[in-house]
Amino acid sequence: MGAAGWERSAAASEQVVGICIIGLGNEHRGDDAVGIRIARQIASEGWDGVVAVPLNADDGTALLHAVRDAQTAYVVDAVSAEATPGTIIRLVLSRQSRFARFKRVQGEEKCPDGEEIPAPPPRPDRSRLRSPIGTISSHGLGVLEVMELGRTLGVLPERLVIYGIVGRAFDPGQGLSPEVERAAMQLIGRLYRIARRREAGRCTNSHW
């Protein structure tokens, strides 16, 4: 097969911006909408140097495209895990390391840092963490799998931070649970502080 055409490169059509924040989810399944809601909120506030992209998580490959030229990218999504709804967890992936640093973050409370969990094996432990982090999701690929694919293909950002908010209900319908709504506000505040501090990276803004 011929030379690869899908690589890390800044094409003429791409716009260089500061920080890339991607909100994933399904806005028609309860708390699964939180990532999209966060991205839309940030986009509507127009933070300097930040592009926020809501993405329907049905298509993990779109996520790969969105992060491929970023130095640092932040991905926000709902997760289902054995934790109190509204808990915010953070996973940090790097291009070099096969391990993700995992930290439980709630509001301003800091928990012991540095627990390392392995990047997903081909069949990750789905019983522990639900989609899209750590699972092979519908229509292909969950977040960590997409990121693993990105690393394999050499298009992963230098640093990728995934913020997951533990959801309570994912039933069809719209509306976030109150604790998820509160966590979303906390996370937006956190991302704002990060954006102000973080050195400008590179991100694509290619949606119509």
Partner: protein
């Protein structure tokens, strides 16, 4: 005490990997023969049909597009067909061409995702695309590039890649300029090359020798390989208008699944999707697509569901080929819609989603509100057929080690690229080993 021959095996996949949505499989077998087999679909039961009641008919394309994040265009087109048919609206050729382009974009991205990222790993012995990408990085990169091109078509004509917002009853809210549309030509030309490479690649896989006597059902159009509309035809005598869909096919609730089982009235299960289209409409594929099909060694009759992966790749060649022809003559219509109307009555519509016939029926009040809706996706039509295939396929694999047997059954299900709508993407796979100690 059981003898070595009296072995019972339970394969229970609580959630299927690499299929859209939430699905599960249960097989109980004895002595290598299945005794009980269930494909269990968790999809929210008829949520969207209920959700549509009381809404204005003009909202139907937008609302139904949210049923599926990978095939929203199919829902929009079937919805428009049904309502425009009732309201007596006929879209002119220039609007119809925009719809074709939009729909080809969906075929390209949906099929490419499935062929290269979801199904190909099965045939090469990989658990997922990730290990496959280590050994085939160029294939995966180029497949991602091709999929991206399909998404770009949808973004341009649909207004947004996911859940297009530019579609309305009677056409579109806005039309892209010719200049913007022609920017798709280069990526599509590259995509045509990639699509042919992928077709040759997948045609070289090893396929189980497994043929079934299917009743293939697809739409047939007088002038083109049916995608936007057509009559319902089958290889066993059906030739009917879409309005007769509910006279031809019966849906029955099965106790273990939220999805319904569909059969041809008076007969049995049937098959919609690429294999059905290929067998019924091969003569209408583009000359290039037919040439590629023959070059890789497939032509009708094709009855091995495992070779659906080749057919999907041929359909991608066809879709790109057709899209390039349409773009050559594309001019944005002055007004890309025809006026809506209000009329009471019942409308029926169908189009060929990537996975097969997608049927919509609406009953409207004289204020144009939806009083009732029925949506029959291709995967629910295929569900009984998938189970029938598994009944016949399972005996070949149940004597293998359990993990391998499970894997092959999941691979067989993925032949249908099943789409179990509007899921939250989570999947759990727990294997319940009912095996006794003698195995």
């Amino acid at each position: 005490m059981t003898t070595p021959k009296q072995r019972t095996l339970t394969i229970k996949v609580d959630a299927l990997a690499r299929v859209e949505g939430e699905g599960a499989l249960l097989i109980k077998s004895r002595d290598g023969q299945p005794q009980e087999l269930r494909l269990i679909i968790y999809e929210p039961p008829r949520f969207f049909e209920a959700f549509l009641r009381g809404r204005d008919h003009a909202e139907a394309p937008d609302l139904t597009a949210r049923i599926c994040g990978i095939c929203p265009v199919a829902y929009q087109m079937s919805s428009c067909n049904a309502l425009e048919g009732l309201l007596g609206l006929a879209v002119p050729p220039e609007i119809r061409r925009m719809r074709l382009l939009l729909y080809y974009g969906e075929w390209i991205e949906s099929h490419t995702l499935h062929v290269a990222l979801l199904h190909a790993p099965d045939f090469l012995g990989y658990d997922s695309v990730i290990p496959m990408a280590k050994d085939y990085p160029d294939v995966v990169r180029r497949a991602l590039q091709l999929k991206r091109t399909g998404n770009q078509i949808i973004a341009l004509f649909g207004g947004r890649e996911i859940h297009p917002i530019n579609v309305r009853i009677g056409g579109f809210y806005a039309a892209p300029s010719r200049e913007d549309a022609l920017r798709l030509r280069d990526p599509l030309r590259q995509g045509l090359e990639i699509a042919q490479e992928i077709a040759r690649w997948v045609a070289g896989f090893e396929f189980p020798d497994f043929e079934q006597d299917y009743e293939f059902v697809a739409l047939r159009h007088p002038d083109e390989y049916a995608i936007l509309e057509g009559r319902i035809v089958s290889n066993k005598g059906i030739d009917a208008a879409v309005s007769q869909f509910e006279d031809l096919f019966v849906e029955q609730q099965v106790p273990y699944s939220n999805a319904l089982h569909a059969t041809v009235k008076g007969r049995g299960s049937y098959l919609v999707g690429p294999l059905a289209r290929f067998n019924l409409n091969f003569d209408q594929l583009s000359p290039l697509a037919r040439e590629v099909a023959r070059a890789v060694g497939i032509s009708p009759p094709l009855r091995n569901p495992f070779q659906s992966i080749i057919v999907r790749s041929i359909e991608v060649v066809h879709a790109i080929d057709q899209a390039l022809h349409l773009l050559d003559s594309y001019e944005p219509p002055e007004r890309p819609w025809v006026e809506d109307a209000v009329k009471a009555g019942v409308g029926h519509g169908a189009s060929e989603a990537p996975r097969g016939i997608l049927y919509h029926r609406y009953r409207l009040s004289d204020q144009g509100l939806i009083e009732a809706a029925r949506i029959v996706p291709p995967t629910s039509q295929n569900q009984k057929r998938i189970e029938d295939d598994l009944w016949r396929f399972a005996p070949r694999v149940l004597s293998l080690p359990k993990e391998q047997a499970t894997w092959l059954c999941e691979q067989a299900i993925r032949n249908y690229d099943p789409c179990i709508s509007c899921a939250t993407h989570f999947l759990r796979v727990t294997i319940d080993d009912g095996r006794d100690a003698t195995r």
